[in-house]
């Protein structure tokens, strides 16, 4: 009996293999965990902590004296050396009080200055009848000017030099008047901005043709314009240690999960950077897993997309100076959804969406499958196709992995070049690159015509993905898939696919599992993954975001 049992105990080589199978993934996990931690802790170390951002010195941060000449000269000393800071001095009519306006050329609204500052002060001035009351004291003069002579909506007063200089530099106009303690700050920045245009990276056939611009106020307005709604909250934050930028966190007060909002707030407060140039900075600073190839926040230029996400209980982040808003938490299915799915009727919407899933699979795996079929599994190709492939591959000098790499890399180069090429010659170069190089490569016998089809289908497929950053992810992973296919064939491709699945299952975006609602399994939310159910069926907001108010009809 013992000999029978013993015969079932595997040899030590098998045991070692089993051990390796257990240990290697754990080691890999530990390695990645270590790298991630090293990066994060390195970021938090904060070398500048000891000396907080250098502010204007106390000498300059003092209050204004109220004496016109000293104040004006200290303003000049603080910012007057800038080439774009202009100081215009004049006299207020009816009095002998001198006044000066300080503004930044190109940033302040010169029209407002001319018509609403200089005109009333210089031309109308203080009539004789009012002189008594106005000139009685510094306060009364200040009140008189504010109440009678400045027909503008945005009007602030300050008596601090630092605030004055800062406000002037972001586009406000400062008005100093002789005999007044404080300073008027008028208007807001009226820098040159782009008009509202159709979003370039997210074009739709059907749907609003409006995209965000670089101006935060306009973007907030665009969001508000999407619909009158009191529960839309936009709370403002300031990010950037050196260059300050406004940032808006938008959410629906009675829909979004308050814990999610809190988490967003706390992560934003931990942002430490001199200048977030674009919302991509924010994205990278608050995302969960910096080693993942998958985007964990979605960026979009479309206000309608943002509003739709907010109504699902998500949170949006808008940053001044960029047309790209961030939506979070992001789940995998969002990367393959387009607003158009919802604008069209549900049958075409579902069809297009299924098509997109298929295209995503193709974009990820088509060249890898080609390599494994050609190099490892000739038996898996239908006989007649196998024959024609053999015939066309006669004389191709490279193994399929090299062949596919050549083509894929050149098509990636073409695509990258296509972005940079000047518009007039872009299409021409595309034709030269795509058609001529492809055809010539086949004729020269470097690649087989079948591969050209595979590469073309792959390239086209990757353009069907509505979110550009998700497309990049698939393009990167495609190369990994190709290399593994070259080493292990279909077996490797399947292993690679499983590896990605493992990663996706573990990945979270702001506490929401990335593959939600596939995993954790929640069939009620499946109405909006592969198919887009009729709107009358989608009565409930996605449960995965734990909305306060689950019913969409409210």
């Amino acid at each position: 009996m013992w000999s029978v049992i013993l015969s079932y105990i595997p040899k030590w080589t098998i045991l070692v293999q089993a051990l390796l199978l257990v240990v290697i993934p754990l080691l890999l996990m530990a390695l990645f965990g270590w790298i991630r931690k090293a990066i994060i802790s390195g970021y938090a170390l904060h070398p500048n902590q000891a000396s907080p951002p250098i502010k204007e010195d106390s000498s300059e941060s003092g209050p204004l004296t109220g004496r016109y000449d000293t104040d004006l000269s200290s303003v000049r000393a603080a910012i007057g050396y800038n080439a774009d800071v202009r100081v215009r001095e004049f006299t207020i009519r009816g009095t002998e009080n001198r006044a000066a306006i300080v503004y930044v050329d190109g940033l302040s609204d010169v029209d407002i200055i001319d018509t609403h500052l200089i005109t009333p002060l210089m031309i109308h001035g203080i009539p004789d009848t009012d002189q008594e009351t106005a000139l009685r004291s510094s306060d009364s003069l200040q009140k008189y000017i504010a109440n009678r002579l400045l027909p503008v909506s945005k009007l602030n007063e300050t008596s601090k030099l630092q605030e004055l200089t800062r406000s002037v530099l972001i586009g406000q106009t400062a008005l100093l008047v002789e005999g007044i303690q404080g300073v008027f700050l008028i208007g807001a920045a009226q820098g040159k901005v782009r008009n509202v245009e159709e979003p370039l990276s997210e074009a739709l056939l059907r749907g609003p043709r409006i995209g965000f611009t670089e101006k935060l106020e306009d973007n907030m307005g665009l969001l508000r314009m999407q619909g009158q709604n009191e529960s839309l909250i936009m709370s403002q934050f300031e990010v950037g240690n050196r260059v300050k930028k406004n940032m808006i966190v938008a959410y629906m007060q009675d829909i979004a999960d308050p814990r999610l909002v809190d988490e967003v707030h706390s992560r934003i407060q931990r942002i430490d950077i001199d200048d977030p140039l674009e919302s991509g900075y924010i994205e990278q600073l608050i995302e969960d897993n910096i080693l993942s190839p998958f985007p964990q926040l979605q960026n979009t230029e479309r206000p309608d997309r943002v509003i739709a996400s907010l109504l699902e209980g998500r949170v949006a982040i808008l940053l001044d100076g960029t047309p790209f808003a961030l939506i979070l938490p992001t789940t995998f299915s969002m990367l393959l959804q387009s607003p158009e799915d919802y604008y069209e009727r549900w049958i075409p919407g579902s069809f297009v969406r299924i098509l997109r899933f298929l295209a995503a699979m193709l974009a990820l795996l088509a060249p890898a499958l080609y390599i494994s079929f050609i190099s490892f599994h000739p038996g898996l190709i239908p006989t007649k196709l196998a024959l024609s492939i053999i015939e066309t591959r006669q004389g191709v000098p490279f193994p399929s992995i090299i062949e596919a790499l050549i083509m894929e890399i050149s098509i990636e180069i073409l695509r990258e070049a296509g972005i940079r090429l000047p518009k007039p010659i872009g299409p021409a170069m595309g034709i030269v690159g795509g058609l001529i190089i492809g055809d010539a490569a086949v004729n020269a016998g470097i690649v087989s015509p079948f591969l050209v089809i595979v590469v073309a289908v792959t390239a086209i497929s990757s353009f069907t993905i509505p979110v550009y950053s998700a497309g990049i992810t698939l393009r990167i992973l495609r190369f990994a898939a190709m290399l593994i296919a070259g080493a292990l064939g279909i077996y490797g491709v399947i292993m690679f696919f499983l590896l990605i699945c493992c990663h996706l299952v573990r990945l979270k975006s702001f506490g929401v599992p990335y593959l939600n609602p596939l995993i954790p399994y929640r069939i009620i939310d499946w109405k909006d993954i592969l198919i887009r159910a009729p709107l009358k069926v989608m009565k409930k907001r996605p449960y995965m975001l734990r909305p306060n108010d689950a019913d969409r009809r409210n």
Binding site: L31, S375, G379, T383, R393, G486, A487, G489
Partner: protein, 408 residues
């Protein structure tokens, strides 16, 4: 810092370990040869083999079997517009360069050894994934049991179980040869099997897996027979493989096959021709559906079978002149004629099965097994002897649904 460097080096080294394994089992598709057909004959050395044997190129073997492997595309496949890849094909029997295939023959006493022996002759090794047709010569199947012949083929991992098996009346090499330019005989054989919807003279295709299960069950079975003449082929009749020896014992004609297809109730097309009773002119019936049930009856020790056959179709040809109008009586009369013809076919095939070859290839034993399993267990061992003496009755019901597009 050096700790970091060491760690990076370690990671790089382990990555290298992964990469340097390379593509260890890769074999590019253009570096292999696809075998699409396999013919098995009794040993007959080709001229090529004789010549190389004279030069001492032989190894210890007995000459038992000659395997013909049909490979495509042949070496020097026509490329682009340039016609034919000059020179005689390496094979013993393909002088014409227009052919889309190449037959290679080797002789030996082990199928796997013969297969591997091809690697000495071809720069691109042969793969079996795309093997579509296996042709066994009648002579070989008579001499050796199919279990012996097919042992390697059934064990092999490369060859698919969906591969078609047929028997050739003459040599398998002939069945795998063709004079027509561009035609691949293996694919041709595969295509003909699909014509069952046009003719009930073709057996349902027997794939390797079906052959395996038939051999396991121990019952006798049929394999499609291919006759050849002047490198042209025709499916005709079937080879009978005896259940206990798994050897070829005889053939059914195509007329028998027709009768058998009525018994099995799997007629989906074809033409039934007979002569009208009035003026003995030709009439033909095209069946659309057919149904048959074999009903075993056991009373005491006596076993008998009754076959009920029902078929519907149309009157498709009528040589009456002057034309007889298709009145209900006339149609009814014709139905009787067709029933007679079907009965005649059944009578003949039953005679062959019971009296000539003593084999049950109509599925009678199976029905008995389903209905009377206990009885069957007792009879199983000597079923085919018993079957030879079992009375079988049958009734046939032909319904002519329509007269096709005839206007009268």
């Amino acid at each position: 810092m050096s700790r970091h460097v060491r760690r990076v080096l370690l990671a790089a080294a382990s990555l290298l370990l992964l990469i340097s394994t390379g593509c260890w089992s890769a074999n590019e598709i253009e570096d292999v040869t696809v075998s699409i057909g396999l013919g098995l004959d009794t040993a007959k050395e080709s001229a090529f083999e004789k010549e190389i044997n004279e030069q001492g190129a032989h190894y210890p073997k007995e000459n038992v079997i000659t395997a013909t492997i049909q490979i495509i595309p042949p070496i020097n496949a026509k490329k682009g517009g340039q016609g034919g890849g000059g020179g005689g094909g390496g094979g013993g029997s393909s002088p014409s360069s227009e052919k889309a295939y190449l037959n290679e023959q080797l002789t030996g006493d082990s199928v796997i050894q013969i297969f591997r022996q091809f690697s000495l002759r071809r720069d691109r090794p042969i793969i079996g994934h795309h093997l579509k047709v296996i042709v066994v010569a009648r002579e070989l199947a008579q001499k050796y049991s199919l279990e012996q012949i097919f042992d390697f083929i059934l064990r092999d991992n490369e060859i698919r179980p969906s591969c078609l098996v047929v028997v050739s009346h003459r040599s398998a090499l002939e069945a795998l040869s063709s004079e027509e330019p561009g035609e691949i005989p293996a694919l041709y054989l595969l295509g003909v099997v699909n014509n069952r919807y046009r003719s009930n003279k073709i057996l349902p295709p027997v794939s390797l897996i079906k052959l395996d299960s038939a051999m396991q069950s121990g019952a006798s079975f049929l394999l499609q027979n291919v006759v050849t003449a002047k490198d042209e082929h025709k499916f005709s009749g079937a080879a009978i493989i005896k259940g206990d020896t798994k050897r070829w014992i005889g053939e059914l004609t195509q007329y028998d096959i027709e009768g058998l297809s009525w018994i099995k109730g799997d007629v989906v097309g074809g033409a039934l021709k007979t002569y009208a009773s009035r003026g003995s002119y030709t009439i033909a019936y095209e069946p659309e559906t057919s149904k048959a049930s074999i009903i075993p009856e056991v009373s005491g020790d006596d076993i008998s079978f009754h076959i009920k056959i029902k078929t519907e179709g149309s009157l498709i040809e009528d040589w009456s002149f002057p034309e007889v109008p298709s009145s209900p009586q006339y149609i009814h009369e014709l139905e009787g004629q067709f029933e007679e013809e079907i009965k005649k076919q059944i009578r003949q095939v039953l005679h062959k099965m019971q009296k000539v070859y003593h084999v049950d290839v109509g599925g009678f034993g199976e029905q008995l097994k389903f209905k009377y399993p206990k009885r069957w267990r007792k009879l199983k061992e000597r079923w085919e002897d018993i079957f030879s003496h079992v009375p079988i009755t049958y009734d046939v019901n032909v319904t002519i649904k329509d007269v096709a597009s005839s206007t009268d």
